[in-house]
């Protein structure tokens, strides 16, 4: 086994290059599928550090250029935000108004 295989690609979820290659060989064609299969990109950084690396591995395994891959989905929020910070006054008022 190539020692590179044990390198962490997704540091947040501790997913190795080997696991990502295995996911592609099991049928994953997109970053989103690799994410579901391995959890790569599901940690605190939401793929900000590993997404491009995963794309490179995918492209290499599939024999295409990274630009040819299906774009991956991005889920809100854009960056981690505390529960207290997403409690907006305006929505509460609107709710009270509708209930009132």
């Amino acid at each position: 086994m190539n020692s590179d295989d044990e390198r962490y690609i997704c540091r947040c979820e501790e997913v190795t290059e080997k696991e990502i290659r295995e996911a592609v060989r099991a049928g994953a064609r997109t970053v989103t599928e690799v994410k579901r299969w391995t959890r790569a990109g599901m940690g605190i950084c939401q793929g900000r550090s590993c997404k491009r690396l995963v794309e490179r591995i995918l492209a290499e395994e599939l024999g295409v250029s990274p630009a040819e891959l299906e774009p991956s989905t991005v889920r809100p929020p854009i960056r981690p935000v505390s529960i207290s910070a997403i409690n907006m006054e305006e929505t509460r008022e609107r709710n009270d108004r509708e209930e009132g």
Partner: protein, 391 residues
């Protein structure tokens, strides 16, 4: 372009399609699994991890959930990957006397059906959930409520079925389905064709568009649920958590009928669970919003505010992701499991709404029994397709 022949074509690589395909492979059938997108791209991959018995009314769905729970225990060693099955128990939080009396009655009826569940007071609740808000006056508790990682479950079924020869075709939607010469012929959007004696429609909220290819319609509609995901946290408590408010609104709508605000329109109910990985999943809404899968800022705010109301400690935790899933809901709350009259060899396995994960193991066996002509473990009448076609 090719024509693939197999005994059975299963449409939909969600948890119920996979469970069905896996069971059929185990019984020696050749199976092709087809998905218009990819595995778990629908509701099965956009949900929480709870296997709740407590949320079920006494009756056949509760009995099937009991059976599924037993099957999950077997699957956790049988499937080729860890499905992260755990039994940590569940609590449904009660906020006032009105909810308490409804829940007392509900719990008593569940106990008569053999579910191990009870009402517990504040002190016992705080042992299980030390961070719960002081305003919560009581809770239900069942030691049987469990959890499973839906993605790992699907992966396990997929690997297990593929090891037994199942063929999987992703990114291929059926465009034509016709009965020809005693078998079904499916033309797929990727150019391939599929020939099978039996077709199983397990396409969840999208099941009706597949039925449409055969010229009939079933009352299956998407019901949207939005969920927040937190960063990994140290465990806040032992159990899965729900709010009684949601169950009360289902059992006694008159108690909540006055509520017409945004929260009511979103069908807000509290669901709170710490996953195997340490992320907390906080939900959820229950909306009729067509096939729109976007999360909405105002809905997420309501979910966040509700979480703080029950667990003030969560205020400083970070949300890292949000998602929405479309639960396949039916007109009478029961899934369609059975052959479609007038379309010999075409079976439905869809319409589980929020019970898709919990009921997947028994659904797979039930459908495999019907397809193979053996008697299912449960009465087939409540699930028959006929009940909707007559109406």
């Amino acid at each position: 372009m090719m024509t693939i022949k197999s005994d059975i074509a299963v449409l939909g690589a969600g948890v119920n399609g996979l469970s069905t395909a896996y069971e059929l492979c185990k019984r020696g059938k050749s199976v092709t699994l087809v998905d218009k997108g990819v595995m778990g791209a629908g509701a099965s991959g956009s949900c929480d991890d709870m296997i709740l018995l407590q949320s079920k009314k006494p009756g056949i769905l509760l009995e099937m959930a009991f059976r599924s729970l037993e099957l999950f225990k077997g699957l956790s060693t049988e499937l080729p990957c860890d499905i992260e099955f755990e039994t940590r128990g569940g609590t449904i939080l009660i906020e006032d006397q009105a909810q308490l009396s409804v829940m007392e009655e509900f719990v008593a009826s569940q106990r008569r059906s053999g579910l191990d569940v009870e009402i517990i007071g504040k002190d016992r609740l705080r042992q299980l959930q030390p961070h719960v808000s002081q305003h919560v006056i009581a809770s239900t508790y069942s030691a049987a409520d469990s959890q499973v990682n839906p993605m790992q479950l699907m992966k396990g079924y997929m690997l297990g079925a593929q090891a037994q020869g199942m063929r999987y075709i992703s990114r291929a939607a059926p465009e034509e389905i016709a009965r020809e010469g005693g078998h079904w012929l499916l033309r797929l959007s990727n150019g391939d064709s599929l020939e099978a004696g039996i077709v199983v429609n397990a396409t969840g909220a999208y099941a009706n568009s597949v039925c449409g290819l055969l010229g009939f319609e079933l009352p299956i509609k998407p019901r949207k649920g939005q969920v927040l995901v937190t960063e990994q946290l140290p465990p806040l408590g032992e159990t899965n958590v729900w709010s009684a408010q949601y169950i009360v609104s289902k059992l006694k709508p008159e108690l909540t009928a006055a509520s017409t605000g945004l929260a009511a329109r979103y069908g807000l109910g509290f669901a709170f669970t710490g996953t195997h990985n340490g992320n907390y999943l906080i939900g959820s809404t229950r909306e009729d919003a067509g096939f729109d899968k976007e999360t909405k800022p105002d809905a997420l705010e309501l979910i966040a505010a509700q979480a703080r109301r029950f667990f003030p400690v969560i205020a400083e935790a970070h949300v890292i992701r949000s998602f929405a899933g479309l639960r396949p809901s039916t007109f009478d709350g029961m899934p369609f499991l059975g052959e479609v009259p007038g379309h010999e060899g075409f079976f439905m396995a869809a319409g589980h709404e929020g019970d898709g994960i919990a009921l997947a193991p028994i659904t797979g066996r039930f459908i495999a029994d019907l397809v193979c002509g053996t008697k299912p473990e449960f009465d087939t009448a409540p699930f028959r397709v006929e009940r909707a076609l007559k109406a």
